[in-house]
Amino acid sequence: MEFGKTRGRVTPQELNPSSGPKPKRVPKMVGRRKKEKVKRKKNKANIEELKKEVVMDDHKLTLEELSRRYSVDLTKGLRPEKAQEILDRDGPNTLTPPPTTPEWVKFCKQLFGGFSILLWTGAILCFVAYGIQTYFNEEPTKDNLYLGIVLAVVVFITGCFSYYQEAKSSKIMESFKSMVPQVDNSSLTGESEPQSRFPHFTHENLLETRNICFFSTNCVEGTARGIVIATGDSTVMGRIASLTSGLAVGQTPIATEIKHFIHIITMVAVFLGVSFFGLSLMLGYSWLKAVIFLIGIIVANVPEGLLVTVTVCLTLTAKRMAKKNCLVKNLEAVETLGSTSIICSDKTGTLTQNRMTVAHLWFDKTTYEADTSEEQTVNTFAKDSDTWFILARIAGLCNRADFKPDQETLPIAKRATTGDASESALLKFIEQSYSSVKEMREKSPKVAEIPFNSTNKYQISIHLREDSSQTHVLLMKGAPERILAFCSSYLLNGQEYSMDEEMKEAFQNAYLELGGLGERVLGFCFLNLPNTFSKGFKFNTDEVNFPMENFCFVGLISMIDPPRPAVPEAVCKCRSAGIKVIMVTGDHPITAKAIAKGVGIISEGTETAEDTTAQLKVHVRQIDSRDVKAIVVHGSDLKDMSSAQLDEILRNYTEIVFARTSPQQKLIIVEGCQRQGNVVAATGDGVNDSPALKKADIGIAMGITGSDVSKQAADMILLDDNFASIVTGVEEGRLIFDNLKKSIAYTLTSNIPEITPFLLFIILGIPLPLGTITILCIDLGTDMVPAISLAYESAESDIMKRAPRDPKNDKLVNYRLIGMAYGQIGMIQALAGFFTYFVILAENGFKPADLLGIRHDWENSYVNDLEDSYGQQWTFEQRKILEFTCQTGFFVSIVIVQWADLIICKTRRNSVFQQGMKNKILIFGILEETFLAAFLCYTPGMDMALRMYPLKIFWWLCAIPYSILIFIYDEVRKFAIRNHPGGWLERETYY
């Protein structure tokens, strides 16, 4: 507790857990410290307990009571030995750093998380199968061993890749941090205003009362003495920090989706495996063989390339988002933003520009609007009124702010200043719209001054008059009601009139109007001192020796931290995209509401219950809450609400502003939204926001103003602090979800032509049409670039005009997608492959009918005179070469039908003719897979390396009719879907 007397601007220090004790800790009087531990339950602190507001009554006590409670002398402080004792008990005044995840744990998470599990399982099954084979000396082929190794290598490399990616984005984050100087910003309560501190108890709420200072805030002005009532983790800040590290974080939506996908794939694989296990036993295969088949089929269902594809797609999007100023720390968070249905946004700095700007002026009984846009390059305010000239001079001269040196090249709005926010705003405004303040000050040098303080609420400066260097003018600015009290006359168009009731009423209306806009209003007046105060007169500001009455009122200037220019549009986009934007701020409800209205969070024409009551002059209770769509909730009301009440508010109101909230309440709001089944994005910059950032499905920290702790807790960082960037992030997130669907559909389709050869090999006893190596060539070779190229596909319709994805029903991979990929397109592809296979065999002498049941002899390396349909006899090696040629043919056919598959996967509803072929990467993908296939097929030495053999040109063409068939079939299907929205085909096949 501090009993100070002057204003103390309270700014959050960097709460970098690694940086140890900060030099400036509040209160400053380290010698007289008294520590008190509220409750120390180490890291096992009860989270629910922490979420509640700090309960403390120290601020309600008188100084005497306080000194008794902490047995501390108010003037001398604690005895050194007592202080030492307490220090030993409680430890130093530092925060326990949050447990950081060791790098190897992060790496293992990449290696064994999500998709990787599927591939690891596949690899282990392969090794098991190989083990069985070698143990029982069954057909000593090493395919299973190789497959297992390849799977393991793929997972390992992908793991390394995504680990590297994430490490890189955290490095970008760090470099960014070092580039940007830390900026003073909002305090614990979210207010960017300096606050005065004095020993009296003013408010029940610990955060609002004026006699408490908090850990990690700076005293910017004045001196004070205080009593330390808490240190380290038991401070308010410490509680927030431990709350953040203790929060359990849920899965990202994409992780849930991938889990769901793994379920489906596993089900399909086990179903296929078990049914063919039974079938092969019925066909008379031995148990051992059947088990090998079972494992083989299950492993064949593993889409080897998908892990890589998904990782690369997410990485590409993350890169694209980084270009648009959204830096994603965690790859999976890329998509989360797309699923977001509620954004809990901060006000200061995110929605607003975080700088005070003159918004309105009132003089000559008229309100004038000033330009508040971010780029104030032109002279924004040029009024031809004498009153304006005087007002401008007062604002410029009675002003302690100044530009920092060496900034002449910068635009005025961008220059750094000394002095508080309001004065800087005035300075910049006058410099911009009137004339150089520096010249003005040189012409009329200041001779005396009474600085602003919270008791007087005014500021006076006395200057030599410009026109006659003999006389002085007294300029004054301050709280409008205080200023008016000093005035006996007023200026109207440069003429002085004596104050009348009409003017007072006009003043009151203007003051109310500007205040109602959430703006900070200052009044301005002046007094020409008589000649008695000639040059050289010693003005005494302590024992005022100059007149302090009969001032002449000039006007009002109001200031606001204006909304960022792109924000209203972004909020509007969010709304049309079905995303609810909730403002959560520590600011006053009036300011909050004004900004909310300004940016469209409370849309035009929508009124809160209070507005309606004011108009209809009825009590709030009498208004049917269903008619009211907007609400401003005060933090103190929120404190008393049960979660059911909060849920009700979140459900019933579409436009919500939470004002005067505490950090814990932000967390409660986020949790409330999540309880409704929403995917919540939360923005924040301060340490106080970090619990909410961590708890939210996607926490968004501010890159420029954000504290390290908030960046650490967040999943994403807005490099330009601009809310509008979130919207582009949402767009990218939604696009990647759609495109991942397409990519997965594409990749899964080729699974069927990869599995069916093995199945028919078992059932029909034909030579194996597609081997493990060729399967891997497809999955990890030719399919890779095309699948990734789908990430570059543009959206089919305006994705920002539809509601956010319903995470319960709109799955990444659903049965319809599996049905299309496996049941339909995949089957056609398999037919294409088999056709090529039969063509090659038939043209070489083995007609299809003679192949049935040939497996036993075909696979027998002792049969070296196997007869074909023409009576020719083949040695084992000769027919194996033929078999591998067929496998190459099958492989090439899959590549060719995948052309068509790629083109149909470009769209889910539109025709490709509507979508166009603008995706250059996709065209490159088609060419690449074709060239790769040709390379694998024709490069000398491939016959030995991969057992792939050159094909006759004609065999490349066999699959083309099927390619055309796929294209036509799917175009017809999509045509039907487009023309019968909600029809049967859409319900059953639209994925």
Partner: protein, 291 residues
């Protein structure tokens, strides 16, 4: 998302699964009502019927385009494979061993030869004609009955001492066993330009034992496949065609030790140096005769 992330107990999961299998409220089984199941099944049945039809059509077209007498491509059969009878395989290829004094060890081998030569009895060669020209027997037209071409006779007795007629034990009993070497058929394949292809057997790694080369008696004499058995016109044109054979009788196989013998076919168009195919143009086998 909180709602999605609740930890579910096992019984809850089971209940959910049961609800999925049969949902009494909506009448859905496994996520679909009965009528929707019927419709989707019908759709898939129709889809597969159409696709199978198209595939069958493709195969039909394929079969129509294929020449019934000659395969379109024979580049995988540039050189014929060679096989050996009797064929007993060990861990690595052909591996024949027997004990002269124990006739049970070789009756199986001679039985294989007898069975193999059954296809070369005069009765089974009845439909084939006698050829004597020792030149390629080209037939451009189908003069044989049933629109076929003639095939030349090859009867077991041409193998003389190794025919099994003179010595039913094929020399196994006396330790001078006969092995029959067969060249694989390839449609329209001409093994050489003018001379008849000849079998040549030798120890693989000379000098062996006492350093003497392998002494072989070939039947028919010189170990040649007469040119009139070539070219082969395929199963449809020559349904009764039988491969010509050469028998090799090894006279000086050392006893009680394993020797490796390779029999090559010497002809202009037969290669035996393919490192990947041990049975192309030659046959290698291990032989161990115990006493």
């Amino acid at each position: 998302m909180a709602a999605l992330q609740e930890k579910k107990s096992c019984s809850q999961r089971m209940e959910e699964f049961r609800h999925y299998c049969w949902n009494p409220d909506t009448g859905q089984m496994l996520g679909r009502t009965l009528s929707r199941w019927v419709w989707i099944s019908l759709y898939y049945v129709a889809f597969y019927v159409v696709m199978t039809g198209l595939f069958a059509l493709c195969i039909y077209v394929l079969m129509c385009t294929i020449d019934p007498y000659t395969p379109d491509y024979q580049d995988q059969l540039k050189s014929p494979g060679v096989t050996l009878r009797p064929d007993v395989y060990g861990d690595k290829g052909l591996d024949i061993s027997y004990n002269i004094s124990n006739n049970r060890t070789w009756t199986e081998l001679t039985l294989t030869l007898h069975n193999f030569l059954a296809g070369y009895s005069p009765a089974s060669q009845e439909d084939n004609i006698n050829c004597t020209s020792h030149k390629y027997f080209f037939q451009e037209s189908f003069r044989a009955p049933n629109h076929t071409k003639f095939s030349c006779k090859f009867t077991a007795d041409m193998l003389q001492n190794c025919s099994g007629l003179v010595d039913p034990s094929f020399g196994f009993a006396e330790g001078k066993p006969c092995f029959i070497i067969k060249m694989n058929r390839i449609v329209r394949f001409l093994p050489s330009n003018s001379t008849a292809p000849r079998v040549d057997c030798a120890f693989l790694d000379q000098p062996h034992g006492d350093g003497r080369p392998l002494q072989v008696e070939y039947y028919p004499p010189n170990g040649t496949f007469s040119l009139h058995y070539f070219p082969y016109y395929g199963k449809k044109a020559q349904p009764h065609y039988s491969n010509p054979l050469v028998a090799a009788k090894f006279l000086n196989v050392p006893r009680n030790m394993q020797v490796v013998i390779v029999c090559k076919i010497l002809a202009d168009h037969v290669t035996f140096d393919n490192p990947h195919d041990p049975y192309e143009g030659k046959v290698e086998f291990k032989l161990k005769i115990q006493k």
